[in-house]
């Protein structure tokens, strides 16, 4: 029976090919536009570290100006001062903690024929790699002792390892960076979490850094810090004065496996704030925050306004396309009134007719869905070209999105077909037969 209905649908679509084409195009365009924007939104709001995102917390201390809160809504600053950050890190009160900042430096390859080049890196403490489950191709990170002793150790990514060492296991080798030799302890395998949750301060969808070095080396002033620096209080000149200043420029993540751990850590932070308050700092002692990965990404609104606005627009666009389809299907099915009359007279039940026409709508939906999928792929390609490199990883369909596109298309077409089908089944056979 099903194949017979498919055949009927095919014949019916062929007869009114113009209308059918219009409906398939409308559904296709609606689905294509929606899937393009849904994909970007879905990937922007993805959980970059799903298995432990609820155990990783971003530390915010309100060290900002007494009279003016840091942000309009009164939230604590996004970064920490050096003295606060290093104090919390040195206390080692959490299961793991990573203090970090962006950095950049020039690498001089051993091969003198190759020109020196600049790398973007991260200065972080040892726990970074284990906290964030960084996958290693060779070797591993460094240990806490290396942080304390300010050892010249370095972790590089696979691309840099390819460039400097031809892709071989380079652990134990040295890299000449910023005029000093750094010992390679590990090579990171492909790892590019999107959003780049551990530091979104200079762009939530940037690529992962090429090198990682101990944060404690920052005080040696061998390489440049990068990222944002915000200061509210004038300070004296010089690097030591900068480290002692109220400028915020580094981040601290802590791993707290249980709710109790979290409460304890928050109390520890608040106690520190109260203590600082006694020394004349921290005007707001109870405005300290621990946000887990997803809370932090939401707080920082990593899903851009443009992306959400586009998604709202495209869903409305899909609605127009569906209204269009409802109208056309209605016209189409009512145009078949006489045929329906004949089928009824020949013994087809309303139920049969209902199924027959739903199958016809479903076929149109399927065709529209496939077209929509093609359009979504094209749309995502266009987005990559137009928005540039950073959106590359946010414009990729995966299996669930493809399934969703087709499902959405068929569901919309069936929904659109429901009323016209119902109307078609109301046809009075006697009236239709008489008018013949």
């Amino acid at each position: 029976m099903f194949s017979y209905y498919i055949k009927l649908a095919y014949l019916s679509c062929k007869r009114t090919w113009g209308m059918t084409l219009l409906m398939v195009c409308a559904i296709g365009l609606g689905i294509g536009a929606s899937m393009t924007t849904i994909t970007v939104n879905y990937l922007m709001s993805a959980n970059p570290i799903p298995h432990k995102s609820e155990q990783l917390f971003f530390v915010q201390l309100d060290s900002w100006e007494p009279n003016n809160p840091y942000s309009d809504d009164g939230d604590a600053p996004e970064q920490l001062t050096y003295r606060d950050g290093t104090y919390l890190w040195q206390a080692q009160k959490a299961k793991r903690q990573s203090i970090q900042s962006g950095m950049s430096a020039v690498i001089e390859p051993a091969d003198k024929e190759v020109l020196p080049f600049m790398v973007q890196g991260r200065a972080n403490s040892a726990d970074f790699f284990s906290m964030f489950d960084v996958p290693f191709l060779f070797g591993s990170g460094w240990d806490h002792q290396a942080d304390l002793k300010k050892e010249r150790v370095i972790v590089i990514n696979a691309e840099l390892n390819e460039r400097l060492f031809g892709g071989k296991d380079s652990t134990g080798q040295t890299v000449r960076m910023a005029g000093e030799d750094y010992k390679v302890t590990g090579v990171i395998n492909r790892w590019n979490p999107k959003p780049k949750f551990y530091d979104i301060s200079t762009g939530a969808f940037n690529d992962v850094e090429e090198v990682f070095v101990p944060f404690s080396l920052i005080t040696e002033q061998k390489f440049n810090r990068s990222g944002n620096t915000n200061c509210w209080k004038p300070s004296e000149s010089g690097f030591q004065a900068f480290l002692d200043s109220e400028c915020i420029w580094l981040q601290l993540w802590v791993e707290l496996p249980t709710e109790q751990d979290k409460q304890d850590y928050l109390s520890f932070m608040n106690a520190y704030a109260k203590e600082q308050h006694q020394y004349g700092r921290f005007a707001r002692t109870d405005n300290n925050k621990l946000r887990d990965v997803m809370q932090w990404l939401e707080n920082q609104q990593v899903v851009s306004d443009d992306a959400s606005m586009m998604m709202a627009m495209s869903l409305m666009f899909l609605l127009v396309c569906l209204l269009n389809t409802v109208g056309l299907l209605l016209a189409k099915f009512l145009g078949k009134a006489s045929e329906i009359g004949v089928r009824q007279a020949l013994g087809a039940s309303r139920n049969d007719l209902f199924i027959q026409h739903l199958i016809e709508s479903g076929c149109i939906g399927l065709a529209g869905g496939l077209l929509g999928l093609v359009l979504a792929i094209l749309g995502l390609e266009a987005i990559k070209v137009m928005y540039g490199d950073w959106i590359r990883d946010l414009a990729q369909l995966d299996f669930s999105l493809v399934a969703m596109a087709i499902g959405l298309a068929i569901a919309s077409a069936l929904l659109a077909g429901l009323y016209p089908t119902w109307r078609a089944c109301q046809v009075q056979p006697s009236v239709q037969l008489k008018s013949q």
Partner: protein, 411 residues
């Protein structure tokens, strides 16, 4: 046809519509939603276009910049910087060159607060800071409208980590207006305070120079200070004679790279490219919105054609009868045009409400500004025209139905 309106069969059209409520409703809803989306999308495009159209104040077509990163040890940065600038300035075709700490519209830079009185708890006026030398305004190509440029004797070295500011500054007109009650002329010669306490005298006013951040509401506020950064990373900003930028960019890059192997020359970028990159997202969003509007209008238009064709097919005999009873081709055509106008009018009324509603939501959720009523009117008229255009072909087909059809059986 003495009186166009005397023969308008609005009554019969309305009654006929009532017999096919759903069909008419579907078209009206489509038109309403199309209007809702269209008006808001055009509005969003306008806002972006206006932002992109703001002049940056500098000579974008003839300027470029590059980064100089020193890696060699035991390096005399001050001497090297002066040598570099000298070499660049001596290159034929170069108009002016300066060392600079940040690039307008590039997204990264320095900002400070300026206050008219010294003090710790006063709210300053935020401004971008550009550190330049005496060739600064020529290299940028900005216009000095009052006061005077820095002398070479004004230029001081700024050590890494220093928090000392020089005693002079040139500021943009917008910054002057923000600090001196909208009257920039008052600013010249005044002393303002940077970093809460350090006095700086305003010795010049420039017409305009945008800050590095295009989305900042203070993007027109910038100050120039006579300082050269003494560090291992620096940027040179270069202006060439008209039309010679592209030719000189690789020449200067090579000249600098070859002159000294202890550093890397990178990011050689024109100001035009910086502007394009700065507004890349805006540009892309506008392209998408435009595509959405066009496709949406087409879909709605074709939807109207499809439904009208269908309704005409169903009414072939009625139309034939009307023709046989003496209705002219024009009257038949007018019937369908009017029918569409009636439906479209209902649609645009609904759509206008929808457009305002969506705008209110957008304003509250994404801090957009409220819609201009003119745009709404234009949208309404445009959609009514689209409706009439779309229905004109089916209406023409209807008008050509022969009166003889009435006598035949069902077509």
């Amino acid at each position: 046809m003495l009186n166009l309106f005397s023969g308008l069969e609005l009554g019969p059209i309305f009654r006929a519509l009532m017999r096919n409520k759903i069909g008419a409703l579907l078209i009206a809803l489509q038109i309403a939603l199309t209007l809702t989306i269209m008006v808001n999308a055009i509005f969003m495009m306008q806002e972006r276009s206006q932002q992109m159209a703001r002049p940056s104040g500098l000579d974008e077509t003839n300027t470029f910049y590059l980064s100089n990163t020193i890696f060699a040890q035991n390096y005399n940065t001050q001497t090297a910087l002066q040598q570099d600038l000298q070499r660049i300035r001596q290159t034929p075709g170069v108009v002016a060159a300066t060392q600079i700490n940040a690039i307008p519209l590039s997204g990264g830079g320095w900002s400070m607060g300026l206050q008219t009185k010294p003090g710790d708890d006063l709210e300053g006026t935020g401004t971008a800071v550009y550190m330049v030398d005496e060739q600064g305004i020529d290299a940028l190509g900005v216009e000095l409208i009052a006061g005077e440029n820095f002398q070479s004797s004004d230029i001081v070295w700024r050590e890494v980590g220093s928090t000392k500011w020089p005693p002079k500054t040139m500021i943009t007109k917008a910054l002057a207006e923000a600090m001196f009650e909208g009257d920039w002329k008052k600013a010249l010669g005044k002393t303002v305070y940077i970093d809460n306490h350090q006095p700086v005298q305003i010795t010049g006013i420039i017409n305009g120079l945008q800050a590095p951040w295009n989305g900042w509401n203070g993007v027109e506020r910038s100050m120039l200070v006579p300082q050269q950064l003494d560090g291992r990373g620096s940027r040179y900003f270069i202006r060439t004679e008209a039309g010679r930028r592209d030719e000189l960019m690789p020449v200067i890059e090579k000249m600098l790279a070859d002159s000294d192997r202890g550093r890397i020359i990178r990011n050689v970028t024109s100001m035009e490219q910086t502007r394009d990159e700065s507004y890349q997202e805006h540009q892309a969003t506008n392209t998408i919105l435009l595509t959405v509007i066009i496709v949406l209008t087409l879909i709605t238009g074709f939807g109207i054609v499809g439904l009208a064709m269908f309704s005409i097919n169903r009414r072939t005999r009625q139309i034939g009868t009307r023709r046989a009873l003496g209705a002219s081709q024009w009257q038949v055509m007018r019937y369908f045009m009017l029918e569409n106008l009636l439906i479209s009018s209902a649609g645009v009324v609904l759509g206008a409400a929808g457009a305002v509603g969506l705008n209110i939501w957008l304003v509250s959720t994404f801090s957009m500004s409220p819609l201009s009523p003119v745009l709404l009117v234009i949208g309404v008229v445009a959609l009514l025209i689209v409706g009439q255009l779309a229905v004109s072909y089916p209406a023409l087909v209807a008008s050509r139905i022969s009166p003889a059809t009435a006598t035949r059986g069902r077509a």
